[in-house]
Homo-oligomer: 209 residues x 4
DNA sequence: TATGAATGAGAATTCATTCAT
DNA sequence: AATGAATGAATTCTCATTCAT
């Protein structure tokens, strides 16, 4: 693997290889991907692959890193979002479902890789931690505002309800559980809101009469 | 692989191999297990393996079948359980957590195998379906009794809340999220109960007024 | 590589592979030999090779061991040899030349391998040590009998004169220095004998008056 | 590789590469040296290497040539040396030991390379020939002066005794045979002198009456 | 002259599976 | 039923060398 800083051409080749690898992993799964597949897709010889990556695993490592980064970025509810708690939860759930739709296969591959290689486990842990903290902070705020059940442990609750959304995304998008997006988001949000004892405010878009 | 029915000795050898395979898969993961490992553990030669199983995959198929069966059996709340809805949910959650603790690695392996082989997908689907149906039936009954929000789709809700428990089991037991069992079961149950709008009955052990 | 003790058939295959490897190394040198060459020569598939040997290096290790053993055995002057010191030296020199003729290429390969792998260095050291000790013991005996210069260090002298023979064997047999065997043995022996100040006994076959 | 004569800058780069190659070969051995290592050491890029050398082998060829030249030059007993035959032999032995100490690894590499490539064989032959001729001429002169056994074949004797020194140098310096330089030179010289029947002259520094 | 990206021939090794005994 | 020797497809990775810039 190359060490020195790359020229423009080198950077391009590396990026091509990375993209090709991502596609290949997504399509065929880690085991089924051969270095030569990636190279063919990228249009370079397999010697070139080793100019930029140490091994198939190293390539996957970079793909995983990218995917995890995207997952997190994609599911962040902007600060501009409505101040209404219910609406924020709803927006977060919708975003997560969509982010998952775009990356589910790869994320599951990272999860599997984590079984064998702690490096991937750490990557996943960081991602999960970010989500959990985000959820726990949100809940804590609601509790402080008297809008949510103060007896719930914020972290544990965030882990559980976040897990509900994550797991549903998997079941829905990967395992083919049938549901419309609107229905799915609605149910997830209602369950979440009610679970934490969210007190509807006047602007709430909750289930109505 | 032989077809005719087995002698007693044959049955024993087969069972030994199956147990050895299960242990090996559990310890090292699918890819890392070599047929030789299994045979060494079972104390038979390579050739013998193929007397009883068509392939490594076939062995794993049987292991998976067994695990899935155990998972389902282990997590069924007996009919003798208290009639109190909250208590039933609590019992189910506790049982599921424990069943998962006993089988998580193998279940995850089955999940991963399902990515590549639809046969395992089907197996998993059956398991999930049984859980979902059980959960949905329970909810429907509560709705009919006027004890749960009637506007919730029973199946979708069961998928989501069941997923919450399943996912938490994974996070807690495999990924090391710290929590005590009592706390975990309590939170899962409270979140679940409140999410479906479970109206406390007089015998409820819920958090009270 | 196989661990359990081999059946007759297994032993035969292993021996065939070992012989094939020895020939291949002898003919083409370590680097140029491919595992497949050895297998083709032995008439087995290359998978079979790995049933019996861990690697090309391991195979070479066994070949080296064998060659070194043969070298030592082949150059031992039997105790039955004439008691005449000069004749014994002469016999040893002749035997060494012949042993070298049979194994020079492989011995040189071991020498080269020793540069990279201390294991081979040790092997060679043992061989050399045996030769040196044999030579030193012989000289010491002659010194004690008053037949050789007592001021010479037996070990150092044995190393030097033994080296003379070893090196000449190489130059003569490998590098093509022209000489007849009789002449070669004669000169080596006369130089050796005179170098240690060997006093001719009455039965000496030395160069006469 | 370029053909036209080099600019000053070109010469410098070439020399740097040659020196880097020599060091690299000396440290790691032929096989283990990658062109990249040499280039990194020389501070130039891969491509540049091929501006000056046709191949790795060509580089080694030049290194070998240089080493062999140095070996010969370094071990020549100047004409100014004492006219005493014993002293001349002693001086030559000491010089040879020292020259070998400086170059043993590379010389052995050349020897090994000679097994596969006759070009290196020829190089070595020339070196050896020069030594042998020098030794044979010396012996012939002594024989003519009546100072050495006239029945010895000068060339054969030179090959053998020269080999004794060369081989001892290897054993002592590369294989770790323990001896002090003075002892080593003393023994080599005494054995050599007595082997050829060198008659001490009055000025001899030999071991006395 | 120098650079460094690209090439691809080449070899080692693993392990599920078959089959003769 | 059991054995274990034999098979060979499959894949990774290295590094000397070429060549466009």
């Amino acid at each position: 693997m190359i060490v020195r800083s790359l020229t423009l051409r080198g950077k391009r080749t590396r990026a091509t290889l990375l993209a090709a690898g991502r596609e290949a992993f997504e399509e065929h799964g880690y085991d089924a991907v051969r270095i030569d597949d990636v190279c063919a897709r990228a249009g370079v010889s397999h010697g070139t692959f080793y100019t930029y990556f140490d091994s198939k695993e190293a390539l996957f490592g970079e793909v995983a890193q990218a995917v995890v980064g995207e997952m997190f970025a994609a599911s962040a509810v902007g600060p501009a979002a409505s101040g209404d708690p219910y609406a924020r939860i709803e927006a977060a759930n919708r975003l997560y479902l969509r982010a998952w739709a775009a990356n589910s296969r790869l994320v599951r591959m990272v999860e599997h890789a984590a079984d064998a290689d702690p490096r991937f486990g750490r990557l996943l842990l960081e991602l999960r931690e970010a989500f959990v903290r985000r959820g726990a902070d949100g809940l804590r705020r609601l509790q402080e505002q008297g809008l949510a059940d103060p007896s719930l442990d914020p972290r544990l609750t965030a882990v559980m309800l976040g897990g509900m959304v994550e797991h549903f995304a998997h079941v829905w998008l990967d395992l083919g559980e049938r549901a419309g997006e609107q229905d799915a988001v609605d149910h997830l949000t209602r369950l979440w809101a009610r679970a934490i004892g969210l007190t509807p405010t006047s602007t709430s878009s909750q289930e109505g009469p």
